[in-house]
Symmetry: C2
Subunit: 336 residues, 2 copies
């Protein structure tokens, strides 16, 4: 039901997704009226009478709308009827409901949101956290690193031991605030014990250079970096359009340059990277951008499908268990 466009987009994406993956099966969760037009032998409608709107406060989504499509979808994951849930709805509500119904994994205090951003290597950099957590401790950031490594190893088979960078304001170990310095120490320990392939500190531009596979930061910093980056990209695209519209000569130039600009846009197309993972829960949940079109929503379905197929949940659980001694806050360590 979710996202800016609702079933018109999500159902079209579902059809393409089913065509592409002959072994996939879908549970379409939502108001039956909106979904009944979709007939496919590998799709079943699971009714849910309510819809969480994009501006519903978390409390409303969690306490009042107990038969929302979002909640019923996550309930399917909890009960084992589904291996993964995908939603294009309200992020805060999705995280709150997922956390309430599924609970966090042992060793994880806070779930995180991980997304991919395109990089200059032609690949993508996975960044977490992106807004679910502010005021993170060093242990939380190490938890994010471990979960991010599980995610990348599940989705990118050529990266069994992905490199992790700690987002900082300089490469040297003495840089950063107290939490970041402590996180660096813990990540170096995690590298020694084989839990993480730790590269070291990285800076904001390294996200787009593709210096490492995974960039770890707290949700406040990650959110600002993501939105600032979107802002720059929009400004450049907007300026490019303005410059090409300036006169009859530039309009002709635009026609000539069109194939090149179109190739550029395709390369930078953020829709290709749609589908953020909610990590650290006892079940898999993916979040599509609310504004996703059919192509973008299908990407989110593809990512969720790959994550389920490649046992992301087990990978996270195994890695978290192995790294357990490093993930616990110092003040709750067991008495010797």
């Amino acid at each position: 039901m979710g996202g800016d466009h609702g079933p018109r987009v999500t159902l079209a994406a579902c059809r393409q997704f089913l065509d592409r993956h002959p072994e996939a099966r879908l549970l379409l969760v939502g108001q039956p009226d909106g979904l009944s037009g979709f007939v496919h032998e590998r799709a079943v409608v699971v009714p849910a009478s309510e819809v969480v709107s994009m501006d519903d406060p978390v409390e409303v989504a969690l306490r009042r709308k107990k038969d929302s499509s979002m909640r019923v979808a996550i309930q399917q994951v909890k009960e084992g009827a589904a291996q993964v849930a995908v939603s294009a709805g309200n992020t805060g509500a999705l995280m709150a409901i997922a956390r309430y119904l599924l609970k966090t994994l042992d060793g994880i205090d806070r779930p995180a949101i991980a997304t991919q951003m395109p990089n200059a290597q032609g690949g993508a950099t996975t960044v977490l956290d992106l807004g679910a957590n502010v005021d993170c401790s060093a242990e939380h950031l190490v938890q994010f690193a471990v979960m991010g490594a599980a995610l990348v190893s599940a989705l990118q088979e050529e990266r069994p031991e992905p490199t992790v960078g700690l987002l900082n304001i300089g490469e040297e170990v003495i840089k950063g605030n107290e939490i970041i310095k402590k996180t660096g120490e813990l990540l170096r320990s995690a590298a020694k014990s084989g839990d993480i392939n730790f590269y070291g500190n990285v800076e904001g531009n390294d996200i787009f250079k593709g210096t490492v596979d995974i960039v770890v930061c707290d949700g406040f910093v990650g959110n600002v970096a993501l939105k600032a980056s979107e802002g720059v990209a929009s400004m450049i695209v907007g300026a490019l359009k303005q410059e090409f519209k300036r006169s009859i000569f530039t309009k002709v130039a635009a026609v000539v340059a069109y194939p090149v600009l179109s190739a550029l846009m395709q390369r930078m197309d953020h829709r290709r990277y749609n589908g953020a993972a909610l990590l650290g829960l006892r079940g898999l949940v993916f979040k599509s951008h609310g504004s996703a079109d059919t192509m973008a929503f299908e990407q989110a379905l593809n990512r969720a499908y790959d994550a389920a197929r490649n046992n992301l949940l087990d990978r996270v659980r195994t890695r978290v268990a192995h790294a357990a001694p490093l993930l616990a806050p110092a003040d709750v360590q067991p008495v010797a």
Copy 2:
């Protein structure tokens, strides 16, 4: 002496600057051998035997190189021989020496670095802090807001009461970590007492939309946002070049589109915004990017000149004094 190119660039910029400003006078501080070629009736060489290098640790710059060009230049400001110092050298060393020699203003705990970033309005957004301060308190962030307002009012005459936005992960007042929420409260008080034209929370993309004149954040977040933005811009420009080089057809398209692309590059040219202000000191210091070319270094000189001419120091002092009750940390407020 500073920057990646040394006197070759800085002296060429000085000559252009003197040509453009018939009332300006320059003290050229550095090793006389490197500067003696520069003869101008409004320029004097002030000798300094040492040079702080780009990778000198702060301690070396501060304690060992006591006759560095950087230190002697700031000493000129302290003694009143100069109204403002400009350097393209090591940022950490410049801030440390400036703070040591000049001291902070009453009411200011920590100096900040403020720079401009181009925005989609065709203007520039002033952002501070950019790396001088990590782990800021709410009071520090309010100090930055007040100093930023003084800077913009001095450099942009059409903005006597510039708007201030607080960088956050959402527009609503309940968003953000504890320090940001408290900063929001203080800034709303500051707006009521007429100290600040506070717009409210802004997000990363607002820097480039040009939603407000000034964006306030701690140095860690500001540094990440700045570098992430530079990273995206480089990636887009790099991809554009690659796409235009792909074949003989795209190379022809590049020739046709050249005037448009060149207009775009000029519009986005970060050199136009060169010259960051070190704010909160008892004297004016500006920092040019180390990689500045002649045009860029001249911009830094122009900005420093405008700041001195428009009494930036007095403006900061007056605004800080007026806002004094809001700037003091709660735990050191006078006993009633």
